[in-house]
């Protein structure tokens, strides 16, 4: 279970996230939605301890990732929003490093690489954006984590491998993994998630089940996508 309570993290320019509370149960997949700069990445990085938060209580399976980062990161799989990896190394080398660091075997990483049609011998600088993203995804999954924090996981992936990713995430959720994944738009994740939270200018403005969200869209006689756009600017919606 992932729990974020009253998280506040402000940058020097005053932007950041304020009083964010999000909870993801075992086996639940929650989407964190919002436009650029709404605070999705800041929330995720704060949870991982990369950013120093001024307030808030964080936990993953009752473990505080700030005070006990080793135990927490053993069970968390994290995918950065803009996955940058050393260009002179191959995916295989990175998998070996991560597997050693996490004390797990390489088998599952190789299985995932096969599922994603990834050439693991190529150095990262020779890979396309999509294949770099596959490498980063596998790095976040290879230890079969109990909690997944995925920042824009579909970025750069073609529709076929997006489908592969969501199948894998469904398997993880079915096995009890709590998943928090961010996206800009709801249509990308609506087939996968159980619930969604919407961020706007550093604050959470909506947090309900997908069912409740769709019901709200129905009541307003609009599509889920336009209902999502309505959170931000009605003029941007389109029929």
């Amino acid at each position: 279970m992932i729990s974020i309570k009253n998280l506040t993290m402000l940058y020097q320019n005053g932007k950041g996230v304020k009083n964010i509370s999000i909870s993801i149960q075992d086996g639940e997949t929650k989407a964190l939605l919002g436009p650029n700069g709404s605070g999705k990445t800041t929330t995720m990085r704060s949870f991982m301890g990369f950013l120093k938060c001024s307030d808030g209580t964080l936990s993953v399976n009752e473990i505080d990732p700030i005070s006990n980062p080793i135990e927490a990161k053993k069970i968390i799989g994290f995918l950065p929003g803009d996955s940058r990896l050393p260009g002179n190394l191959s995916s295989e080398t990175l998998f070996k490093f991560a597997a050693n660091a996490r004390n797990v075997k390489l088998d599952y990483a190789l299985e995932l690489a096969t599922n994603f049609d990834l050439d693991i011998k190529q150095t990262l600088k020779k890979l396309s954006k999509g294949n770099k993203q596959k490498t980063a995804i596998i790095l976040s999954l290879l230890h079969k984590p109990k909690a997944l924090i995925l920042d824009e996981p579909t970025s750069g992936l073609d529709p076929f491998h997006q489908r592969t990713l969501f199948q894998i995430l469904n398997d993880f959720a079915n096995n009890g993994t709590s998943i928090l994944l961010s996206s800009h738009i709801i249509s990308e994740v609506e087939k996968t998630v159980d619930s969604l939270a919407v961020m706007k200018e550093g604050e959470k403005i909506y947090d309900e089940s997908l069912e409740a969200f769709k019901k709200m869209a129905e009541q307003n006689n609009t599509s889920a996508e336009n209902q999502f756009f309505d959170f931000f600017d009605k003029e941007k919606s389109f029929d």
Binding site: F50, N88, L94, R102
Partner: protein, 277 residues
């Protein structure tokens, strides 16, 4: 902890292998020209003795500020192979090279990797900041000492094939003090990079300290403050030609103390700041 050091150390080495291999071999190969020049009587006469005469004629040898600027403490001795290696190369050139090499390397795995985002992957692994900083500090000191050893060994190997000689144990003592000096500048750059997460500040701090101590040594005879810095603070000032005089406990202690102090400062800032992602 040992498994972590082996795993993360391996990652650091392979992700920076081009930088490390280039800096380990290239300066050493270039520096092999020194024993070659001294071992060839024609070259020595034309190049080295010719330079000496020309510089003496120009008044260079009488200008202590200029001599200090080049790290030359004894004009007559640097015209021998032993004097040049121990009195010029290790006094000025080697600490400078080590500082640049190691600041660059530490930035690649530290502050610069935060800026370019490659560190986010490492930060997501089950390591603490203390573990990461400790491993980086070990790499800093380990490679900062190992790389100049490779250089001087290449120089020494060349002396075995030409008519020039160096005393190996004296050479080792010299390189220990000289490399520690370079590591002290790199440690300051690394510490500021770790404290701030900014590679530009890391370079400014490391090279800035080097420049300040170099200028203090150059101008020591003109000003009491510079004299004080040279005598009591400077890593250049702590190099008192161990090739001739042996290693000095006070000189070694000063440089080791500076390295430890800088590392403590760096860790203090690094331990719970936001990463510069």
């Amino acid at each position: 902890m040992i498994k972590f050091l082996a795993t993360y150390g391996w990652y650091i080495i392979i992700s920076s292998q081009r930088w490390i291999s280039t800096w380990t071999l290239a300066p050493g190969v270039y520096l092999m020209i020194i024993p070659l020049a001294f071992g060839n009587s024609n070259l020595k006469e034309n190049l080295i003795d010719g330079q000496k005469n020309a510089l003496e004629t120009s008044g260079f040898s009488d200008n202590s500020v200029v001599l200090n600027a080049f790290g030359i403490s004894n004009w007559d001795s640097i015209w021998s192979l032993e004097g040049l290696v121990s009195g010029y190369l290790m006094n000025l050139f080697m600490p400078l090279l080590i500082a640049v090499c190691i600041i660059g390397l530490m930035n690649k795995i530290g502050a610069k990797s935060e800026e370019d985002g490659t560190f986010e992957f490492v930060a997501s692994l089950p390591f603490t900041r203390t573990m990461i900083f400790s491993a980086q500090a070990i790499i800093l000191i380990g490679l900062g000492m190992l790389i100049p050893f490779v250089w001087v060994n290449l120089i020494f190997i060349m002396t075995l094939f030409v008519d020039a000689s160096l005393n190996y144990s004296s050479l080792v003592q010299s390189v220990i003090q000289s490399a520690l000096g370079g590591v002290s500048f790199a440690a300051f750059g690394f510490a500021i990079g770790a404290y701030t997460g900014k590679s530009s500040l890391s370079w400014a701090a490391g090279v800035g300290l080097l420049a300040m101590e170099w200028l203090s040594g150059m101008l020591a005879q003109t000003n009491e403050i510079f004299e004080f810095v040279k005598e009591w603070i400077s890593s250049f000032g702590a190099y008192n030609n161990p090739y001739v005089n042996g290693l000095d406990f006070a000189d070694l202690s000063l440089v080791i103390f500076k390295i430890l102090l800088f590392l403590i400062i760096g860790f203090w800032g690094y331990r719970d700041r936001s990463l510069n992602l």
